[in-house]
Amino acid sequence: MKMLSVRDLSVVFGGVRALSEVSFEVAEGEIIGVIGPNGAGKTTLLNTISGLSRASQGEIHLAGSRITGRRPTEIAALGLGRTFQLSQLFPGMTVLENVMTGLHLRTRASALAAAFRTRGMRAEEEEAAAKAWQALAYVGMERFAHRPGTELSFGQQRIVEIARTLIGEPKLVLLDEPAVGLSLTRVAELDGLLRRIRDERGVTLVMIEHVVRLVMDVCDRVVVLNYGMKIAEGAPEEVTSDAQVIAAYLGSGFDAARRSS
């Protein structure tokens, strides 16, 4: 059984075909890259998988369960995690609290329990704080634990966001351009972090990324989108030498012969 199975997915917004019959599968423990020129539909793809956009046609399955058309909260409960292109750390909370929020689905205290501070609720809070601390330590960010989310740099916020997503123990995580705005050293750190996440935690990753070095290093396979359609799929080296892919990025008038010199 595949971790993620996308079949003939089409998404139409008011006359625009954002995605056309996209199909691909992701096995458990793979790291898949999704690349393509701007406007190719990559973010729409992630949005549709995570339930924020509605599919017009096609099916999506997560670890065997059908998730097409389900609400984002249900899909999250089934084991999907997601990070966003623009940092979505909640400015009104500290970094640690942000990560604790990632445990929302794994904590149970009701409003009543919280208002009356039952023993169960307090124990749950302590446990959540401990887990959140560990998650921050895992990504090397624990020294910012009590700072408000906004005090961190953009790159640091992205990393914390990954911790916040991981703490919910998802099976599959969708990452939208995790490396954007990161310096070279940080990209290398991110590279290592992504591998550790896959190797140590067994999480499957699907990431949109433009930073070629990262894609080549970390991804097992790459899916290429252009104008909403999948135009190539395969190992990173294969895909980046594929003529169609190059044409998509650089324009169809590009001379193949020139490229190989």
């Binding site: 909260t73 409960a77 604790m100 929302h104 919910g168």
Partner: protein, 348 residues
């Protein structure tokens, strides 16, 4: 252990002062303090909805009115004793407040504000015109508060009842926001989309926020009824709405302490200007503009930095997670692991 003067101590002192007030104050001051406590309740409920959960709804004054009318009508038309009618009024306001959630889900920002405002105006119209039930514009009297067998008269009775209820509601709100509920609210306010991806059910938490603000406003209304002895649609109009909004803007949105501070300050201003309605309007309007322009996060931001005055959205023993400056990344991880282990023999 150092006794720091933090927000808890401040609140304790405030309520202690309020408890002792009847011994030294004249009836007018008592009345105003009682009113202040009711406004604290109103500000708390509104803040949870607007400040924490980010739902900019303008129907709170209507909920206040529904609570007051509900209580009064249950007493007068159905003959219920006050101690049954009051919860009834509060629950009625809560139910109606929750019912607003469903349309509110699709709207946000200005649309939410104006549609809830339209609803509030509609409610006021109902209170004004449904003579057969609400006695219309003339209003109606309610019986004096009878707390027998307790040996306490109606004036002191309502004062201490309000005092007790206010304390309970402050403590409950305080606890509620320091939990995953508080975090869920703020997550919805700060990033609805990310909140959903973390599994936070928007409908459920928005409904909770509306229900809470409805209940709090209704409770304030229920306490207002015996205080005035008389209910009419006047006190639940647009001006009331502005007063409440000003309280949380001035005090601080997204802050329990801010709600308390804002309520007390605004009630003081309101009473000082009681004589002149037009001056009231000008002053309130100007205060609102001034704060929105210059100090949108409210008075409480001046206090928040001080130790003991923070308002976290979590409840755990902070001493377990002390952050020290690392000399190297490896050391950082090592330190973190050490810090993360529970320290021995520490109480809470």
């Amino acid at each position: 252990m150092r006794l720091a003067f933090g927000s808890r101590q401040f609140l304790a002192l405030l309520f202690l002062g309020l408890a002792l007030l009847p011994w030294v104050a004249n009836p007018y001051i008592l009345y105003v303090s009682n009113l202040a406590m009711l406004y604290i309740i109103l500000a708390l409920g509104l803040n949870m909805l607007v400040g924490y959960a980010g739902q900019f709804a303008l129907a709170n004054a209507a909920m206040f009115g529904i609570g007051a009318y509900g209580t009064g009508l249950l007493e007068v038309r159905l003959g219920l004793p006050y101690l049954l009618a009051a919860p009834g009024g509060a629950v009625l306001a809560m139910l109606i407040g929750t019912a607003i959630t469903f349309p509110a889900l699709r709207l946000s920002g200005i649309y939410l504000a104006l549609s809830t405002l339209a609803f509030a105006m509609f409610s006021q119209w109902v209170l004004l015109h449904w003579y057969s039930v609400t006695y219309g514009g003339g209003g109606f009297r309610v019986p004096h508060l009878d707390l027998s067998p307790l040996p306490i008269g109606p004036d002191l009775g309502i004062y201490y009842l309000s005092w007790a209820v206010t304390i309970v509601l402050v403590v409950l709100a305080w606890a509620l926001v320091r939990s995953r509920i508080g975090r869920a609210f703020v997550a919805i306010r700060d990033g609805e989309v990310a909140a959903q991806s973390l599994g936070i059910d928007l409908l459920r938490y928005k409904a909770l926020a509306f229900a809470l603000s409805g209940f709090y406003a209704g409770a304030a209304g229920a306490l207002y009824t015996p205080l005035l002895g008389y209910i009419s649609p006047e006190g639940f109009d647009l001006f009331q709405m502005i007063i409440q909004k000003s309280m949380i803007v001035v005090g601080g949105m997204g802050s329990i302490l801010g709600s308390v501070i804002g309520a007390t300050v605004m009630v003081a201003v309101l009473e000082l200007l009681r004589e002149f309605k037009s001056t009231q309007e000008i002053v309130f309007g100007s205060i609102l503009i001034a704060f929105v322009l210059f100090r949108p996060r409210g008075i409480v931001t001046l206090l928040r930095r001080l130790p003991g005055w923070e308002e976290p959205l979590s409840s755990f023993d902070r001493r377990r997670y002390v952050v020290t400056a690392p000399s190297s990344p490896a050391a950082a991880t090592g330190l973190a692991r050490a810090a993360a282990e529970p320290t021995r023999g520490e109480g809470r």
